[in-house]
């Protein structure tokens, strides 16, 4: 077991932080990286807060996975509408969608709610270049874990439609990934989106 100081792979500045995070951000050169064997730079975006949001601001990291799917068959007891339909391009049951996986350490129910909400309707935002001194929630989930959970999100979307899901035969492929920091406000009732 050996301990090393984390340095930016781009400018070699040490990364200082007050909170443990799997994603390392260099504010000198605006580079985000992670360590998985070696240092790996990540593609990322930061969404602008809406003007009206008041309260304690925080950026929440998400893995945005660009996925394609093919549905072969499905059966539901007492219902038939299904959600993947809205992303289907062809009659053959294939399509593409963005799956959003919250990367911060959330309890299972918050994790599920955020993942479903942002996957069902992809967030629209103007992006900004830096965090502007706003706190970032630390990421606790690797991209590999997020890819595993993409399937969970798809099945959850289908199961939460009316009726009881009995079978879903489909395949999902992750074609690309990006880290997206989405704006939230910490209130008394928890996290509120501030897009």
């Amino acid at each position: 077991m050996r301990i090393v100081q984390v340095k930016c792979p781009s400018c070699n500045s040490p990364i200082y932080s007050k909170q443990r995070d799997q994603l390392f951000y260099c504010d000198k050169c605006n580079v985000l990286h992670t360590r998985n064997g070696g240092a790996e730079k990540l593609d990322f975006e930061i969404a602008e807060f809406s003007g009206s949001s008041s309260g304690e601001r925080v950026f929440v990291p998400f893995w945005r996975l660009y996925c394609s799917f093919i549905i072969r068959s499905k059966s539901v007891e007492g219902g038939h509408v299904f959600r993947l339909m809205s992303w289907m391009k062809d009659e053959d049951g294939s399509g593409t969608l963005f799956i959003h996986i919250p990367a911060a350490d959330f309890d299972p129910s918050t994790f599920k709610r955020l993942a479903i909400d942002y996957t069902v309707s992809s967030p629209k935002y103007r992006s900004r270049l830096d965090f502007g001194g706003v706190r970032r929630m630390p990421a606790m989930m690797s991209r590999e874990e997020a890819v595993e959970l993409a399937d969970f999100v798809v099945v959850t979307m289908e199961a939460e439609k009316p009726g009881v899901l009995q079978r879903l035969d489909y395949s999902l492929t992750v074609n690309g990934s990006k880290v997206v920091y989405l704006p939230f406000v910490m209130g008394q009732s928890g996290l509120t989106p501030a897009l």
Binding site: M1, R2, I3, V4, Q5, V6, P14, I15, Y16, S17, K18, Q19, R20, D21, Q22, F24, R35, S75, E77, G78, P108, F111, K112, E145, E148, L149, D151, F152, V155, T156, A159, V164, L165, Q166, R167, L168
Partner: protein
């Protein structure tokens, strides 16, 4: 699982930092440097500090002698001959399971006219949970220890020079595979879907560590026979042990077992005037009860607690077997 830490130093400022088990990143509390742990395939090794001394181990062992259905003169006649500590290696893992299990269950209900109706109730169950797993990383021999029960305590390698250490001999990949299958089967049973039509479970290993845990071995004799107990070096609790059983209790239990078995057979014969199959069921019940009683007490001269490979039938296991035998008979009778 933030309850374990190991002392190390910050490479930037030299300050003492503590590593949370299984975590790959940490922060230096003095210079705010972000630090990364380059471990052996992401495995953190920790050791628990031994908190029990020789006297404590002997005391825990003697206390254990006087509990349960052990020989009543064990405390007077038993002689401790050897007491020593060892470090045992364990794999410890935290695994997250996320997914869905869909299917249905069949519910039966009887209406006022006595007709049985079957109803198919569809189910969809989400699974999203973290599961903890531990398993010994060496051949435990006759110690009766296979998994860890305690997960918190002071950690330090300070006792490593004094206490003999068992080498880890099982592979990391095997441990991860078993942790995954353990988490998966626990997730599956928590969903309680009896007929599964679709299962999509994702098993994500989150943390893996090698834990060296102090255990005291106490060997003793009772009427020229050797027995042993093991004592947890952190909590002071008895982990496993073998002890002579109480002869009086055994003979009482055998008498009870035999009479219940005989009674079941007798009832069967009396009832046979009503229906021939009742006699067969009764005889069968008697036979099974007698056999289980015999099987238990053939080894019954010894009381065994812990996770042994070839464990003689325990009291609770015997009761479970009797219950399942009763259930089988009930169903056969129906």
């Amino acid at each position: 699982m933030a309850d374990i830490s190991v002392g190390l130093n910050c490479p930037a400022c030299g300050g003492a930092v503590s590593v949370v088990e299984g975590e790959s990143t940490l922060l230096c509390p003095y210079c705010d440097s972000t630090l990364f742990i380059e471990g052996d395939q992401g495995v953190t090794t920790i050791a628990f500090r031994n908190k029990v001394n020789r006297e404590g181990a002997m005391k825990a062992s003697r206390l254990w002698w006087s509990r349960g259905w052990k020989a009543r003169d064990l405390k007077r006649v038993g002689r401790t001959i050897e007491v020593y500590p060892i470090y045992l290696p364990f794999w410890r893992a935290m695994t997250r399971v996320a997914g869905w299990i869909c299917g249905y269950e069949i519910r039966r209900h009887t209406d006022s006219k006595g007709r049985v109706h079957e109803q198919k109730v569809p189910k969809e169950v989400m699974v999203l949970n973290d599961y903890r797993f531990s398993e010994i990383a060496t051949d435990p021999g006759d110690l009766g220890i296979r998994s860890l029960r305690n997960f918190s305590g002071e950690t330090s390698f300070a006792d490593f020079d004094m206490i003999p250490t068992f080498e880890a001999t099982t592979s990391r990949d095997d441990a991860v595979a078993r942790a995954k299958s353990d988490a998966q089967s626990r997730a599956r049973s928590s969903a309680k879907v009896s007929r599964v039509t679709m299962e999509r479970l994702h098993v994500l290993p989150r943390r893996l560590s090698m834990v060296y845990y102090p255990v005291w071995v106490v060997r003793y004799t009772y009427r020229d026979r050797m027995y042993m107990t093991t004592v947890d070096g952190v909590t002071g609790q008895v982990l496993s042990g073998r002890a002579p059983g109480d002869p009086l209790f055994q003979s009482l239990a055998i008498t009870a077992g035999t009479s219940v078995g005989g009674l079941a057979a007798a009832v069967g014969i009396i009832m046979s005037s009503v229906a021939a199959e009742l006699m067969i069921v009764g005889l069968l019940a008697g036979g099974i009860i007698l056999y289980i009683t015999y099987r238990f007490f053939r080894h019954g001269s010894e009381i065994v607690e812990g996770e042994f490979k070839n464990k003689p039938a325990s009291v609770s296991q015997t009761i479970k077997e009797l219950q399942s035998a009763a259930r089988t008979l009930q169903e056969a009778y129906r």
